[in-house]
C-alpha cells in the first residue's frame, strides 16, 4: 500500500476533520420499511444503508429448515449507484463473503432455538458506500432485528479500527481504507463482551494489534449507545423513556 500523502496532520486531525478516536456522524432511524417486520436506516458518515428483517417466517424451500432452530439468511448487497464507478448489480465474490461474515456476526446474538423450522431473513442494501459499510450494515441489521421483535441475547454493535500514518484510529473512512495501513472491522456484543466479527487486512505488530482491537471495541460501545437511543426513540418517544 502506497501512502501518497499524509492522512493525519500535525495536530492529529484526519482528512475528514475528525480526531483519531472520533466516530463519523451516525444516525439511525428505526422502522423505515413499512412492509418489513423490522427495519433501520443508518447514516454512518456518507454511508447510507437500509437493513430490513422478515421473519420468523416459513422456510422455502422447506428442506432448508432446521428442526431445532431457525435458519438465518442474510444478503448484503450494494446498489449499482452506491459507488464511484457503477457496481454491477450481480452479487460479487466480495458481497458473498460479506453476507456470510455478517450472518455469522449476528447469529450469536439471536436465540434461534425459539423459532424451530422457521427462517429469519436479513437484507442489507447499501445505497451509498463510504468505507466501513459492513460494520454499518451489521449495526443497522441488529437494530432491525430488535425492531422485528426477534428474541436476542444482546445487541450487536460494529466498528472498525485501523492504522493510518502509523497511528491507531477508529472508524476508518473510504480514503483511509484505501490509502492507510490496516483495517480491522469488529462486531461486538457489548453486554456479553464477546467478539462476533473480526477481520483484518494490513500489517500490525503485536502492540498495534492489541491497541487496534481495544480501540475498535471502544468504537463498538459508542455505536451501541446510538443504537440504544434510536430504539428508545422509536418505542418510548425519547431517550430518557426507559430510565424513568
Amino acid at each position: 500500500m502506497v501512502q501518497s500523502r499524509s492522512l493525519i496532520d500535525e495536530k492529529g486531525i484526519r482528512s475528514d476533520g475528525r480526531v483519531i478516536d472520533e466516530l463519523r456522524d451516525v444516525k439511525i432511524e428505526v422502522g423505515v420499511v413499512n412492509n418489513a417486520d423490522g427495519s433501520a436506516l443508518i447514516e454512518f458518515g456518507k454511508n447510507k444503508i437500509i437493513a430490513a428483517v422478515y421473519g420468523p417466517r416459513e422456510v422455502h424451500p422447506k428442506h432448508m429448515a432446521l428442526s431445532d432452530r431457525s435458519v438465518v439468511r442474510c444478503r448484503y448487497h450494494m446498489s449499482p449507484f452506491s459507488t464511484d464507478t457503477r457496481k454491477s448489480p450481480a452479487p460479487s465474490r466480495r458481497e458473498t463473503e460479506i453476507s456470510k461474515v455478517i450472518r455469522e456476526a449476528l447469529e450469536p446474538a439471536l436465540i434461534l432455538e425459539d423459532y424451530p423450522r422457521a427462517a429469519i431473513d436479513i437484507f442489507i442494501e447499501v445505497l451509498q458506500a463510504d468505507g466501513g459499510s459492513r460494520c454499518a450494515g451489521i449495526t443497522a441489521a441488529a437494530v432491525a432485528l430488535a425492531d422485528a421483535g426477534i428474541n436476542m441475547r444482546d445487541m450487536v454493535s460494529a466498528c472498525a479500527a485501523g492504522k493510518v500514518d502509523d497511528k491507531i484510529v477508529i472508524d476508518i473512512n473510504d480514503t483511509e481504507d484505501k490509502e492507510g495501513g490496516a483495517d480491522m472491522p469488529v462486531a461486538y456484543m457489548p453486554n456479553l463482551e464477546k467478539i462476533t466479527l473480526l477481520q483484518l487486512d494490513g500489517e500490525l505488530n503485536s502492540d498495534e494489534f492489541n491497541k487496534c482491537l481495544e480501540e475498535a471495541i471502544r468504537g463498538c460501545l459508542k455505536v451501541h449507545e446510538i443504537q440504544r437511543s434510536s430504539l428508545m426513540e422509536k418505542y418510548f418517544g425519547n431517550e430518557k423513556g426507559l430510565k424513568e
Binding site: 432448508m64 432446521l66 435458519v71 438465518v72 439468511r73 442474510c74 444478503r75 464507478t85 465474490r93 466480495r94 458473498t96 463473503e97 453476507s99 456470510k100 461474515v101 455478517i102 450472518r103 455469522e104 447469529e107 450469536p108 434461534l112 431473513d121 484505501k178 480491522m184 456484543m189 456479553l192 463482551e193 464477546k194 467478539i195 462476533t196 466479527l197 473480526l198 477481520q199 483484518l200 487486512d201 494490513g202 500489517e203 500490525l204 505488530n205 503485536s206 494489534f209 492489541n210 482491537l213 481495544e214 471495541i217
Partner: protein, 275 residues
C-alpha cells in the same frame, strides 16, 4: 444469500462427548495436543506446465497449487503494480460431500481469505512486475485445487500458494514494437516475505490449532491469522456463529505468531529441499 446450515459431516453425540472429554484432558482424539499441528509435506514443481507449483499435504488434507503467468491490464487504482489473482476450488473428488457446480460461499471465503493473507503480507513485490506503467503488467494466477478434504483448508491452501510462489520461475516478457514478447528466459519472483496462516478453532471453551474434519464439524468458531516474516499480523478472518472474547483473541494472536514462526521455518526448509 448466505444461509445457516448444518455441517454435512455427522458426528454422533457419543463421539462428541468423547471429544470434549479428551480435549478437556489436553489431548485430541487423533492423539495431538491442543496446540499441535499436523505434519506438513510439500513437493514443489510437480506440474511442469506451470511456472511454479506445489503439492501440499497437511495431515490428510491435500492441495495442489499452480502458478500461471500472463500479461494484462493492471487493476483499477493499482496502475503501477502487477496483478495477483488467487483462486481455490474444492474438487468433487475431494470428499463425498462435494458436488460439482459454481463455488459456494465457503469456497469463496476460502479463496478470499488465502488471497488476503498473501496479498496483505506483500509477499510478492508487485511494483516490480510492471511492463508499461498503467497499461501492461504481469498477471500472476495462483490456482488451487483441493484434492482431499480433512479439515483446515485455509492453512493447507495458504501453504500451497506460498510454496508454489516461492519456488516459481516467472517468464521474462519484453515489449517489442508495442507487442508483448515472451523472451523464453525466466526470472526469480520478487519475494519479500513468507506469510504463514495459522487457524485456531474453538470447541466449547477450548482452543485448538489446525482442526481436522471431525473437529471442524464440532467447532463453534474459527479464527485464521496470517503473520509475515517480521512476526507482524497482516490478515485475519473470524468465521462461524460462535464468538471470541478479547483475551482469547489476544492469546490466539500470540500463538499465531510463535507457531507461525515454527511453520515458516518448516515451509522454507521444505521448499528449499524441493527446489
Amino acid at each position: 444469500m448466505s444461509i445457516s446450515k448444518k455441517s454435512p459431516i455427522i458426528v454422533e453425540n457419543l463421539r462428541k462427548k468423547q471429544m470434549r472429554e479428551s480435549i478437556s484432558a489436553g489431548k485430541r482424539l487423533d492423539d495431538r495436543g491442543l496446540d499441535e499441528t499436523r505434519p506438513i509435506e510439500i513437493e514443489v514443481n510437480v506440474i511442469k506446465k506451470a511456472s511454479g507449483s506445489a503439492w501440499v499435504k497437511l495431515g490428510k488434507t491435500e492441495v495442489v497449487a499452480g502458478v500461471k503467468v500472463e500479461t494484462g491490464e493492471p487493476f483499477e487504482g493499482l496502475e503501477n503494480s502487477g496483478a495477483l489473482i488467487i483462486t481455490a476450488e474444492v474438487l468433487p473428488i475431494a470428499s463425498p460431500h462435494i458436488e460439482p457446480g459454481p463455488p459456494d460461499e465457503e469456497t469463496i471465503e476460502l479463496a478470499r481469505v488465502v488471497d488476503r493473507g498473501v496479498r496483505e503480507s506483500e509477499m510478492l513485490d508487485l511494483s516490480k512486475l510492471v511492463l508499461v506503467p498503467g497499461k501492461i503488467v504481469y498477471t500472476i494466477f495462483v490456482d488451487c485445487s483441493i484434492i482431499n478434504v480433512d479439515g483446515n483448508l485455509f492453512d493447507a491452501t495458504s501453504y500451497a500458494v506460498v510454496a508454489a510462489l516461492s519456488s516459481c520461475k516467472l517468464p521474462v516478457f519484453e515489449i517489442k514494437d508495442d507487442q508483448v514478447v515472451d523472451t523464453g528466459k525466466t526470472q526469480e519472483p520478487p519475494i519479500t516475505t513468507t506469510p504463514v496462516s495459522v487457524t485456531t478453532v474453538k470447541i466449547g471453551e477450548y482452543l485448538l490449532l489446525d482442526p481436522n474434519i471431525e473437529e471442524e464439524a464440532c467447532m463453534d468458531a474459527r479464527l485464521t491469522i496470517t503473520t509475515n516474516s517480521k512476526g507482524s499480523i497482516v490478515a485475519m478472518q473470524k468465521g462461524l456463529k460462535g464468538y471470541f472474547t478479547v483475551d482469547e483473541v489476544k492469546g490466539i494472536a500470540g500463538k499465531a505468531r510463535t507457531k507461525g514462526e515454527d511453520i515458516r521455518a518448516k515451509l522454507q526448509e521444505l521448499i528449499k529441499i524441493g527446489k
